[in-house]
């Protein structure tokens, strides 16, 4: 019996040692920097007025990063418009952040009926996405924060309308 305990102890120590070694040998770059509250970031709207994402704190906030040169982004926008119309009264707030030049964004928004705020930016938007875990910088990229401002869902790539509805109604119902 004692012998078995000894064996088990050595085994657990070995496992712990392996995990510790992993920590030590892990490249420093993999450790995410202690990010600031993601909702403190601010971007301008088309009128040039800066908005802090924290403005919408208290709602279920969906930040959708898109661009006019990105077909899958444009494809999912109508679904977001529908969701905003349906669940807006229940406290859902979409905010579109375009990784694009102002005139491109203005031209697109003028042609479409988008019922939620659109902000834009270039380098700063790219950097912000990177901080939020979009390592490859590709679009579309969507973040969902709950009413307390905690990040609840990260979507890289197109978000199917049905999936989006399911995730968002779930968080809204809390």
């Amino acid at each position: 019996m004692t012998r078995n305990l000894l064996v088990a102890l050595v085994a657990v120590l070995a496992l712990g040692g392996g995990l510790a070694l992993r920590q030590v040998t892990a490249p420093a770059g993999e450790v995410p920097p202690a990010a600031a509250d993601p909702l403190t970031a601010a971007f301008p709207d088309l009128q040039g007025q800066r908005h802090t994402l924290g403005e919408w704190r208290g709602k279920v906030l969906v930040i959708n990063f898109w661009a006019t040169w990105c077909p899958p982004c444009l494809k999912e926008i109508p679904a977001f418009v529908d969701l905003q119309r349906q669940h807006g009264p229940a406290g859902l707030q979409f905010v579109g952040v375009a990784l694009d030049a102002r005139e491109e964004v203005a031209g697109f928004v003028a042609k479409r009926e988008i019922n939620y705020p659109i902000l834009f930016g270039e380098e700063d938007v790219a950097r912000y996405m990177q901080e939020q875990g979009n390592k490859i910088g590709a679009l579309p990229f969507t973040l969902v924060f709950d009413r307390s401002g905690a990040l609840r869902h990260t979507q890289q790539g197109e978000w199917a309308a049905a999936d989006a509805a399911r995730v968002l109604t779930g968080i809204l119902a809390e």
């Binding site: 012998r3 078995n4 088990a8 040998t25 590709a138 790539g157 197109e158």
Partner: protein
């Protein structure tokens, strides 16, 4: 004592776990099992690998290697010289592929390999040309990358020093004068050898080839299978019966080859591909599983009771039934094992196709089949002779055959199942076998040396099986290197090997691609490939993925003809290349002429392959 062993087993397993933890394997497994159902996308520089060739003749060729499932937009490619050190002309954009985009309408995109020569003139006195390149692309699965901007410089000295590209015209002039008949390839030599000999000599030659082929790892597994049939029929007739059954099998197999030879003489087509249909493969695989189960003694392979009763009433009926079964197996095995004896068979079929005589074709391949069957006959006869009537020893031999049969079943399915699934099946087989070898049961103190040896072997199998499961869940598909996806460096290598090939379908595609390569002064390589061709996959895995080969092939335009479908276009291509099926590797020199001497049919290892490539540089 028993307890101590149990404890040691536990210790060993946890030690193994700690090693895996250190290697970061647990993290990766964690990620795999995570709740996220989103797929991982490549970083932009891996999705679109950019490089440029040397500036020569006023042209700067820009080259992208685009990963599978990713594409670049034609109208987003832009090269400028911001500091005016060069004037940039109109890029020679290839035609590309039309894509109907819901938002943008008809757009032109590029996949796989993209090469864009851009006319560039240095501004007076500039020694370094500075460029800014922009391009943008997306992934098929619904993401787009922001426009990528890249700054790079090209020294003008490269214009006058003019490395390989400038030599190309000189080579192009000399290459066609090479007497191609003097440098005969494997296949050519074989058909030359056969071209002026009589029918008897042809038959004898093919018999000899068959004998040699039987010793290749592809045909050899058939030996235990036939033996299995014979052993399964034990007590029914001994050596004579064994010889008869093996004989029937061999003659059936040889007849099948004979018919292929006949058909090759008549039509000169690749018939085997038609028999690589998933249904055939699944049926054959199921047959092996059934055989294996009977070897393990789960049941005795026999006809349903009702039918058996009828047949038992006449003994001759039962006997002829099993003979027909053996014959059918012979026929099927000839067809399915065919592709892995591709090189000699290709040579034979090329010869027979050229000969245009169905008789010669039939006789030659019948002799080949007989030659391949000689070892089977020998084993069939001796198995009936040497094997005892019953006993534990015989049972163990049957079990070994059973395991081999299961292995064969998996091997057949490898062509149609995803790699990770086959890997899991191999793991199942290994662990199951290990358990049957009592790997996890404690040894008695009085255990004999043999028992200890078996347990050791069994434990090894169980451990390797466990490694295979880890590999399979990480998406590995190579039984010999199951942890490949988990070792970061290898991870970068393998997709590169795959992404490097541009696909050609028709003969016109091939001509265009080879001409394009020749225009750029690049040698080209054509890999003739099919999904159902195991040797092709081995070639890709072991030879093309080899770092030395990769380095050597860096200057090549890599082309791949995927003949999986074996449709009209594929057959036309194979016919035009005087070829009967994959795998084959064709090399084109800088002038765009194929070097027949270096043509490869069948699998070659990295070392041999490098030698062939070296021969390509010789004038």
């Amino acid at each position: 004592m028993v307890k101590r062993f149990a404890g040691l087993n536990l210790l060993l397993c946890l030690l193994a776990l700690s090693q895996l933890a250190a290697a970061g394997v647990l993290d990766k497994l964690d990620r795999l099992g995570g709740s996220s159902t989103q797929r991982e996308f490549l970083p932009p520089d891996e999705a679109f690998r950019f490089t440029h060739e040397a500036y020569a003749d006023g042209q700067l060729p820009l080259v992208w290697t685009i990963a599978d499932g990713y594409y670049l937009y034609r109208d987003k490619l832009k090269l400028e010289s911001p500091d005016g050190s060069a004037s940039v002309g109109k890029p020679e954009l290839p035609l590309g592929e039309e894509k109907n985009d819901e938002e943008f309408g008809q757009v032109v995109i590029y996949r796989n390999e993209l090469r864009v020569p851009v006319p560039v003139t240095p501004a007076g006195g500039a020694t370094t040309l500075n460029f800014r390149l922009s391009y943008q692309g997306c992934a098929e699965d619904g993401i787009c990358y922001p426009p990528i901007h890249r700054n790079f410089s090209v020294p003008v000295a490269a214009t006058t020093a003019a490395p390989p590209a400038a030599d190309a015209p000189a080579q192009a002039a000399t290459a066609p004068q090479l007497p191609p008949s003097e440098e005969a390839s494997d296949v050519d030599r074989l058909s030359a050898l056969l071209a002026d000999s009589g029918l008897a000599v042809v038959a004898a030659t093919f018999f000899g080839f068959g004998l040699l082929l039987a010793l290749t790892p592809c045909v050899f597994p058939m030996v235990p299978i036939v033996s299995g049939l014979v052993v399964g029929e034990r007590g029914q007739g001994g050596a004579a019966r064994g010889l008869l059954l093996s004989g029937v099998y061999v003659v059936a197999m040889a007849s099948t080859y004979a018919m292929v030879g006949l058909a090759a003489g008549l039509f000169g087509r690749n018939l085997q591909a038609a028999f690589q249909h998933p249904a055939v493969l699944i049926a054959f695989s199921a047959l092996f599983v059934a055989l294996a189960l009977s070897m393990f003694g789960f049941y005795h392979l026999q006809l349903p009771a009702g039918l058996r009763n009828k047949l038992e009433s006449s003994q001759r009926g039962a006997r002829s039934g099993s003979l027909i079964g053996v014959a059918v197996m012979g026929v099927l095995s000839a067809i399915i094992v065919g592709p892995c004896v591709a090189p000699p068979l290709a040579g034979a079929l090329l010869y027979l196709g050229h000969q245009g005589s169905p008789v010669v074709g039939g006789v030659a391949l019948f002799a080949l089949g007989l030659g391949m069957g000689v070892p089977l006959l020998a084993v069939g006869a001796s198995a009936g002779h040497f094997l005892p009537r019953a006993g534990a020893w015989l049972e163990r031999v049957q079990h070994v055959f059973g395991v081999i049969s299961l292995g064969m079943a998996i091997w057949f399915l490898e062509r149609i199942l995803p790699g990770a699934v086959t890997l899991a099946l191999w793991a199942l087989l290994l662990i199951g076998t290990g358990i049957f070898l009592r790997a996890l049961e404690p040894l008695h103190e009085a255990a004999s040396g043999w028992q200890r040896l078996w347990k050791g072997l069994g434990l090894t199998m169980v451990c390797y099986g466990a490694v295979l499961i880890v590999g399979a869940s990480a998406g590995a598909d190579d039984v010999m290197r199951p942890l490949l996806p988990l070792t970061a460096r290898a991870e970068a290598q393998v997709p590169a090997a795959k992404a490097g090939f541009a696909t050609v379908k028709s003969l016109a595609d091939l001509d265009r691609a080879v001409k394009q390569a020749a225009a750029a002064g690049r040698p080209a390589l054509l890999d003739v490939y099919a999904d159902w061709c195991v040797e092709c996959k081995r070639l890709e895995r072991e030879t093309f993925a080899n770092p030395a080969v990769q380095a050597r092939l860096a200057g090549f335009t890599l082309l791949r003809a995927d003949v999986t479908a074996n449709d009209e276009t594929d057959r036309a291509l194979l016919g035009a290349l005087s070829m009967f099926g994959p795998p084959a590797v064709l090399l084109y020199d800088r002038s765009g002429a194929e070097r027949r001497a270096q043509r490869l049919t069948g699998f070659v290892g990295p070392d041999d392959f490098l030698q062939r490539l070296a021969a390509l540089d010789a004038p």
